[in-house]
């Protein structure tokens, strides 16, 4: 590994470990608390701290947003120093993030945030979109968990935000469903689903269940009924889970030298479920798990759905193989 590759790996690891997941977990707690307090104080003139809690949520959302922007700046820097190919997951996971704006306190997704636009954005040298053009939804894998910080699996059990709307339009829905059909090798079906899966954590558990059972048709059905933002949100939930599962499989935290073994262990199973998955995508996902640069290849814009779907299927397959359950949604 060259010096610049070492620097890239170091920067990527630092970026991955930014505490986005912890903030999302806090947001979910605050959301639950606010709901409980609202029920209590429905007819009371005393605010009981609810407005202050709302302000706390806004600050936490702004912090989460700032972290994602920082991740994008770091990715742009890596691209600028020529580490596009060596940027683990660069053409995959970065493209799969939900677009964010520079404006803080921007908790609501806008209709024009069509993820199809991400790969088509004007690009800087090396093919990497500028930070102001795309956003980040990469979570922070937590290798060692400080007190109070949620476990990766615990994070996956929660919705990404406390205020996600399920009735909002899904302008990229057709794009998502077409790509899912290509990945699973299933015939595309026209028309929107009446019941859509809007929560990435819920979607991950559904996808994992079908990946575990090896039922490609049902896997396709679950992915097809997902909202686009939930589908792309899989890329934000799976990295810490994958790292934990791979550590269980290997008996130690995944390293670069574990790549061939991991490839042998999972390649056939993932390909059988996702026959349309481009080969480099799984390699990038595994490289990222191992915190090592993926193989060099000519720069092509990846489809943002690919690493999200591949990571979720891989998570489900490994969880099944290791006989580990992904946590159910917490009931309050």
């Amino acid at each position: 590994m060259s010096l610049i590759e070492e620097l890239a790996v170091r920067l990527r690891a630092a970026s991955d470990e930014l505490p986005v997941a912890a903030i999302l977990a806090a947001l979910e707690r605050f959301g639950t608390a606010a709901e409980q307090l609202r029920r209590v104080r429905e007819s009371s003139a005393d605010p009981m701290g609810v407005p202050e809690l709302g302000a706390a949520v806004e600050h936490a959302e702004a912090a989460s947003h700032a972290l994602r922007v920082a991740q994008e700046h770091l990715a742009a820097y890596l691209a600028a120093i020529g580490m596009v190919d060596g940027d683990a997951g660069a053409t995959g996971e970065r493209d799969g993030r939900e677009p964010v704006r520079q404006r803080p306190h921007d908790g609501q997704r806008q209709p024009e945030d069509d993820p199809r636009r991400a790969p088509e954005q004007p690009q800087t040298r090396g093919g990497t979109p500028r930070p102001e053009q795309v956003g980040a939804a990469r979570p922070a894998p937590q290798r060692s968990r400080p007190a109070g910080e949620p476990a990766a699996a615990d994070v996956a059990a929660r919705p990404l935000t406390a205020s996600r709307k399920t009735t909002a339009p899904d302008p990229a829905g057709r794009w998502w469903r077409e790509r899912v059909a290509e990945l699973t090798g299933s015939p595309a079906q026209s028309g929107e689903q009446h019941e859509q899966t809007a929560d990435p954590g819920d979607l991950l558990r559904r996808v994992a269940r079908q990946a575990r059972s090896g039922d490609r048709d049902r896997l396709h059905a679950e992915l097809r009924r997902a909202r686009t933002d939930a589908g792309l949100g899989l890329a934000a939930l799976t990295p810490p889970l994958l790292r934990e599962l791979c550590a269980d499989l290997l008996g130690h935290p995944p390293r670069g030298q574990d790549l061939p073994r991991l490839r042998r262990e999972v390649d056939t199973a993932v390909r059988s479920l996702l026959p349309g998955l481009p080969a480099p995508v799984l390699e990038d996902v595994l490289s990222r798990v191992c915190r090592t640069p993926p193989p060099r290849r000519s720069t092509t814009a990846g489809n943002p759905a690919d690493p999200a779907v591949a990571s979720a299927v891989l998570t489900g397959y490994l969880a099944g193989r290791l006989n580990r359950d992904l946590p159910e949604r917490r009931r309050d």
């Binding site: 630092a14 977990a25 608390a33 202050e52 700046h73 910080e149």
Partner: protein, 86 residues
């Protein structure tokens, strides 16, 4: 048919949620500080605008987390004050 005890229990449950969120924010702040230190070391000597912007975003995130904690503390005080009046 609710009682004061039930009311207190409901608020206590909300406060417990807030406490867990507060702990997560504190942990996030510590993790962020570590990341800032790591990145400062790794990127020392770079004048690239993306690096400057990344540092700036991280500093903003830290500031927002501080303000989040301050707001949480006020919220907890308000809720506890209400409980004390019941």
């Amino acid at each position: 048919m609710s009682s004061v005890a039930e009311l207190k229990a409901a608020i206590d449950a909300a406060l417990a949620q807030i406490g867990e969120g507060q702990a997560a924010v504190q942990a996030a702040g510590e993790k962020l500080a570590e990341a800032q230190q790591t990145l400062a070391g790794a990127l020392e000597g770079s004048g690239h605008e993306s690096v400057t912007a990344a540092h700036s975003s991280l500093a903003q995130a830290g500031q927002e987390l501080q303000e989040c904690l301050a707001a949480v503390l006020t919220a907890v005080e308000q809720a506890e004050l209400y409980v004390s009046t019941l």
